[in-house]
């Protein structure tokens, strides 16, 4: 499938209050194209809860509920049950949350909904920080990254949410990235066609949060995948398939680009390069990623 084959119908309409270069809007546009108008969206506290509908504008035309921070998946469980009670089983129920609302405060509700076999799609747009409250660290923030609460760089590595989700043995889960709209679209369409809980996580580089120029959002996404910091894969009935460049990296057909190539362009890692290059921490990041790929190879190849 090529980009030109995506539906021309737009459900994400002008009126967003997002920052220029916002990855969430890039992703939402594809999400709406893939899922269509017969969709209900549940959103916890996150950037989207603010940017999509600041009066008098609105940037979408599907029913949406902005619910409490910890409650996206639980709220979606209720919406799904309510619609089912009305006999409406063809409506797609989507929970759309950021990484804070997924990795941290929302993981309890998410895990519960997956375990209860709720028929919905949970989408996490992961920009690796709490951006809505002004760039604080989250469970998804990578090691070494500056945030307003990790001023010298984060001292812990991020969680592997994809593998936590895998441990729930749900029918479908996937990792994708805003830089690959066809991949995102395909995964959403597949998720829509499957009954039961589905989880899709979208890598979403955030210009103000990561400190890079707003026109570089897509490039940052591409580099996240090409350096192996982020992997594109999907898991169907416990069988994992890597996609695109990630597949080639897994199979050893191409080499990962050095992590420097990605992080040097992000102001959040500036302290690793100036005034002196912090080779120790950069090496630790590189080794951590390599270890992740070794695990992928040993488990999934």
């Amino acid at each position: 499938m090529a980009l030109k084959d995506l539906p021309t119908k737009e459900c994400y309409i002008p009126g967003s209050a997002a920052c220029p270069g916002c990855p969430a809007t890039i992703a939402l546009r594809i999400v709406y194209k893939a899922l269509g108008k017969n969709t209900v969206k549940v959103v916890p506290a996150c950037c989207t809860a603010v940017i999509e509908s600041l009066h008098p504008h609105t940037s979408f035309d599907i029913p949406t509920m902005n619910i409490a921070f910890e409650a996206a998946a639980a709220g979606a469980s209720g919406v799904e049950a309510g619609l089912r009670m009305q006999g409406k089983t063809d409506t797609t129920v989507v929970a759309w949350a950021g990484d804070g609302g997924t990795y941290d405060i929302g993981i309890q509700a998410l895990s519960g909904a997956l375990e209860r076999n709720t028929n919905f799609i949970y989408i996490c747009y992961n920009n690796e920080i709490y951006s809505n409250t002004g760039i604080q660290r989250s469970g998804a923030t990578p090691y070494g990254a500056w945030t307003t609460t990790t001023v010298l760089g984060k001292t812990e590595f991020r969680k592997e949410m994809g593998e936590i989700i895998m441990a729930h043995h749900i029918p479908y889960s996937a990792q994708t990235c805003i830089a690959y709209p066809e991949d995102l679209f395909k995964k959403l369409r597949k998720a829509k066609s499957i009954n039961g809980p589905k989880y899709i996580e979208i890598m979403a580089p955030c210009p103000p949060g990561w400190r890079f120029p707003m026109e570089k959002t897509v490039e940052m996404g591409t580099m996240a995948v090409e350096t192996g910091a982020w992997a594109l894969y999907e898991v169907e009935k416990d069988k994992i398939t890597f996609n695109g460049k990630s597949k080639l990296i897994l199979e050893g057909k191409i080499d990962r680009k050095p992590i420097d190539d990605w992080i040097i362009y992000q102001g959040r890692f500036r302290h690793l390069f100036r005034p002196k290059k912090d080779t120790k921490r950069i090496k630790e990041i590189e080794e951590h990623i390599e270890k992740m790929w070794e695990r992928y190879r040993s488990c999934y190849l």
Binding site: A49, Q136, T149
Partner: protein, 394 residues
Amino acid sequence: MKYKRDPKRIRQVLGKKVQFILGDMACVYGGLLAGCSFFGGYPITPASEVAEGMARRLPRVGGTYIQMEDEIGSIAAVIGAAWGGAKSMTATSGPGFSLMMENYGFAAMTETPCVIVNVQRTGPSTGQPTLGAQGDMMQARWGTHGDFEAIAFAPSTVQECMDFTIEAFNLSEKYRNPALVMTDGEVGHLRERIIIPEEKDLKLIDRVEATIDKKKFIPFTNSQTRKNCKVPDFPTFGTGYRTYVTGLTHNEKGFPATDKQPDHERLVKRITEKIIDDADKLVSVEKFNLDDAEIAFVTYGASARPTESAMEMGRKNGIKVGMLRLKIVWPVPEKEVHKLAKQVDKIIVPEMNLGQMVHPIREAANGNCEVICAPKIGGEIHYPDEVYKYLEAK
């Protein structure tokens, strides 16, 4: 690394004596000065600056900042840290404060000293992030289930954000009860001049640690080392005292007594009376033009600022009006308000909600004068003339 309050180091981190800073940052300064060594944070507007300020500064004075996975985690970690021996605090706003409610009660029930800064924003629910309100005043008092007593400050200025955070630590340590700094988005995001007090002017209170013979120690009863004191000595974890801390109704030894009425009554009466008995000592108010007043404003926090202007307008126009500003809102200074109610014809309570503190104030007035509410909601403080019009209303 063991934390020891090091005044020199703290002052190095805080910097100049006179500064122009945010209300939120003043809470950070207050915490550091008080000897806070643990902060459990979670980002929420308009309180994030407190967490950010602590994340930067606390490690530099030897303390620990942990960003938790949610506000339930923050308050729970703060409680844990207190039992581990730290003076601990967290900061949040409306939705986070709601999430903290269960553990807020746990802290009261287990007599855990800790400080919560609530930079209030409008609610219910997500409300208006970044815009101030005073809508959590009743939640501070009644938000968690069961009987307990609240200790809450309401700063009107950035200076008070710092001073009251120190005071909140003092009272929380003294009474072994959570203490709240109920500031709001307006004061929290206000920049003003503050003066950092000299070390010799700081009065800091630390919890009284258990020191008696370990075999004779009883953890949840009147102090065994102080006379007529209903606050038990604190058996910090790791000091060798047998300590069992539970939110279940517990007997004096700390063990669950969930089916025994007398145990519950004795426990809950003690943990409330330790504060009620001292309520008169806890009164902290500021009086303006009350000597000859016929009308009085009773207010607190950000609302006191426009109210003071309204009072001055009234005085200029020949209205005998005064103002009573509550610095500590919980416990309510009932005797002060009662005395005032006997003197004036009318009490007006301007507050940034639809009427919360007006209720205990009306109760304290006990019918001696009319008590009316001057509400304002929507994330703005009152304009002085909005308050003034209540002076002229018949």
